[in-house]
Structure formats: structure tokens, C-alpha cells
């Protein structure tokens, strides 16, 4: 027998053996525990595709807004918060009986609200000077109000108190004018 005949005979044997093999192999039962049950009765899905997309959008918006907030906050000038000790602007009153009217009160409130911003523009010495003097005026006002409670109809005391409020308002206005002047001079 020649080599070529031997090769053909071997090939035929191999082919015959291959034909006897099974064409499919079934997996054993419970290859994965409970899989048959899972296939039969699938569990409800927590996340639908729509829900997942919505969550992703919200997350994106939230992250973007947070980033914008952080950037903008860093760019904003530092706001002065808090009030120096004693710099409380009590509501105007005459022995807790009368007030000076909405017009005066509004003007005073507006100037008092701007005060912190204006004071920052002054030198430390000027700022301390203004604050000290405003506190002195407030102390005088408080003292006069105490006396007026004893004698509410004393016209002279009322006049003195009114004068003190006017002085306070005048000082607040001057501070406002001062800082405008400082800004103008710094533009030279």
C-alpha cells in the first residue's frame, strides 16, 4: 500500500468517526441555579430606558448648575456681612410712642443698608472714626428716649431727639458722599 492510499484511508476513517458525533449538545439542567425559574417568571425591572434617560438628564443639569454656581460665586466680590458692635439701627421712635414717619424711616433705612458698603471704601482710621461717632449718636438717642419715656410730652426733649436723628442722617449722607468722592479721586 502506498503512502497516498494510506492517507486516503485515514481520512475516510476520520470522516466516518466525525459523522457519528452528535450535532448538538444540551446543557445539563440547573447549569445556573434557578435559571429556569428566572426565564419562566422574570423579575420586574426597576429602571426603564425612559427613566434611566431622565435620571441622566437631571444629573447632567445638576452637575452643570453646580459648576456654574461655583464659578460665579468665586467671581463675585466678597460681600460684607455682619454689623460692627453697637452699629444697630433701631427703629426711630419717640419714647416708643411715635415714629418719624415712613419717609424719614425709608431714607434712614436706605442709608443704613448702604453703610457697610460705603465704609469699606474708607481708610481704616476714617472707618473707625465714622463708626465711633455713629455709636455715640445712637447712645445719645437711646438715652434721650429713656428720658422721654418719663416725660413724653417734653417738647424740648423731643426737639433734641429729633436733632440727634437729623445728625445721624446727616452723617450717613456724608459717608455716602465721601466714598463717592474717593471713587472719583481714585479715577484721576
Amino acid at each position: 500500500m502506498t503512502d497516498e492510499n494510506m492517507t486516503h484511508e485515514n481520512e475516510d476513517k476520520l470522516l466516518a468517526a466525525a459523522r457519528k458525533l452528535s450535532t448538538e449538545i444540551s446543557p445539563g439542567r440547573d447549569l445556573w441555579p434557578g435559571i429556569a425559574e428566572a426565564i419562566e417568571n422574570p423579575a420586574p425591572r426597576r429602571w426603564t430606558p425612559m427613566l434611566a434617560q431622565a435620571a441622566a438628564v437631571m444629573l447632567l443639569i445638576g452637575a452643570s448648575s453646580s459648576l456654574t454656581y461655583v464659578i460665579v460665586k468665586e467671581q463675585q466680590p466678597t460681600q460684607i456681612t455682619g454689623t460692627p458692635t453697637g452699629m444697630i439701627f433701631e427703629q426711630t421712635s419717640f419714647a416708643n410712642r411715635y415714629s418719624l414717619g415712613p419717609g424719614f424711616q425709608d431714607a434712614r433705612d436706605a442709608l443704613a443698608n448702604d453703610l457697610q458698603t460705603e465704609l469699606v471704601r474708607l481708610s481704616p482710621e476714617s472707618r473707625a472714626n465714622v463708626e465711633t461717632n455713629l455709636m455715640l449718636i445712637h447712645e445719645a438717642i437711646a438715652e434721650m428716649n429713656n428720658v422721654l419715656e418719663q416725660e413724653p410730652d417734653n417738647a424740648l426733649l423731643q426737639e433734641q431727639l429729633l436733632r440727634a436723628y437729623r445728625e445721624e442722617l446727616g452723617l450717613l449722607r456724608r459717608v455716602s458722599g465721601l466714598t463717592r468722592n474717593i471713587m472719583m479721586r481714585n479715577d484721576i
Binding site: 455715640l136 426733649l157 436733632r163 472719583m184 484721576i188
Partner: protein, 294 residues
Amino acid sequence: MKRIPIFVLSCLLSVPVIAEEVDKTLDAAADGHVEVSNISGSITVSGWSKNQVEVTGTLGRNVEELVFERDGDQITIRVKVPGNSGHRHGIDSDLHIKVPQGSSVDVGTVSADIDVTEVTGDQGLRSVSGDIATESTGADIEIESVSGNVDIVGDLAEGEVEASTVSGDVTLLRIAGEVEADTVSGDIIIDAGSFDRAEFSTVTGDIEYRAGLSKGGRLDVETINGGVDIEFVGEVSARFDIDTFNGQIRNCFGPTAERTSKYAPGWELEFTTGDGDGRVDISTLNGDVKICNE
């Protein structure tokens, strides 16, 4: 070794190390307007008989330039400095300016003293930190300082004067006419002079007045924390209204003060001298009042 002198030379050439001298002159109107701006240093302005404006002095080493120009009747003198804050050093400039006597002047500084002499036109003088001194010859004067003293010396010619400072004293010598002076922390001293209308106020400081009051004139004096000492020069014909919240009243004219309230330590006093055609109102919250005449 050869690199060292080159390096040193480069440094010297790149950094101005000395102030620049200034000596410039422009023709000007006899009664024109001169505006001066100098952030830091000093400014002296004096009037002379020439129809010219002359600027001499020294500019700080970091000053960009001195703007000195004329536009019609207006002369502008401005020390220009770099915009960035890193060059706030080396900008001190001392300017000596001569202007026609009849000029009106407007001077603005941040940190510089201002001294004006022999100028007969109106004056507007403003400084944030610096003393201001000037002379009054009857024209209108408006002075504003944040931190600095204000001194005005006059020749009794009547004019309108306004002087204001936050922290500093105001001194008015031989001023007449109408005057308004106020300070937050500081004294106000008025010596000689006579007024048709005078208003003085301090928050913390004393007011001393040694001057006259014109017939029908009006004097208003207010302090929050400070004493008032008034000595009239010459006759005074006025109605007096004086009150304190916490302070004594001493009166040389005769009438004695009365307590404002049994609950408050203050006093009040009203009286009239002469025809009573003038008006004197004095008020302190915490401070004594003394009122006399010579």
C-alpha cells in the same frame, strides 16, 4: 566678568530711578479757570500778576506724564499715573503752580496737602487725606477733606465759605459773610471776623467762636459730644436759644439757665439782647456751653 557691567547697565536703563523735574508755562486768561489733579504728593497754588500758568516741581518716578494743556479759558494740570495698582509707589509728585490772581481754581487730590495763596477767584479744594490751607478774599470757597485739617485765613472781605472734614480741625481766621463748617471728629475754631450767617457743627469736638455777629445775623452751633465756647466781639443784638441734654450753660449776659427736665441732666436758656433782630441757636447733647461778649 564682562556680563556683570552689561547686566547692571540693563537694570539701570530699564528702571527709572529718579524723579523728573518739571518746568512748564502756558499763556492763560486773567480770570480763567485752572483745574489741578494730583493723586499723591503736594500741591501749592499761588496767584501772580502774569497772564500765564507756570508749573514747576518734581514728578514721581512712576508717573506716566504730566498733562498740561489749555482749552479756551481753562487750563488743565493732571498728574497721570499707571492704571494698575502695582505702581502706586513712586507716584508722589510735588507741584508748585502759579496762576493769574483772578483765576478760579479747582484742586483735587487723594493723598496730598493743598496750599493756596493770593488767588482771588472761586476755589474748590478737595482731598481725601491731606491738610488744606487757603486764603479768602471774598470769593466763594468750598473745601472738603476726609482726613485732614482745614485752615482758612481771610481779610474780612465778605464771601461764602463752606468747609467740611471728617477727621480734622477747621480753623477760620478773619472770615466774613456766610460760612458753614462741619467736622465729625475735630474742633472748629473761629477767630475774628463777622457773619451774616454762620453754621457750625461737630459730632465729637469743641467749637470756639471769637467773632462778631452782623445786625440781623444768624449763628447756629450744634455739637453731639463737645463743648461750645462763644465770645462775641462787639455788640450783639439777637434772640438766644440755648439748650443741652447733658451739660452746663454759663451765660455772661445775665439770665440764668433752667433745667430741661427733672429726668435729664440738661439745661435750657432763652433771652434777648438789644433789639433781638439777630438769632443765636446753640445746642449740645453732651457738652457745656459758655457764652459771653468782650
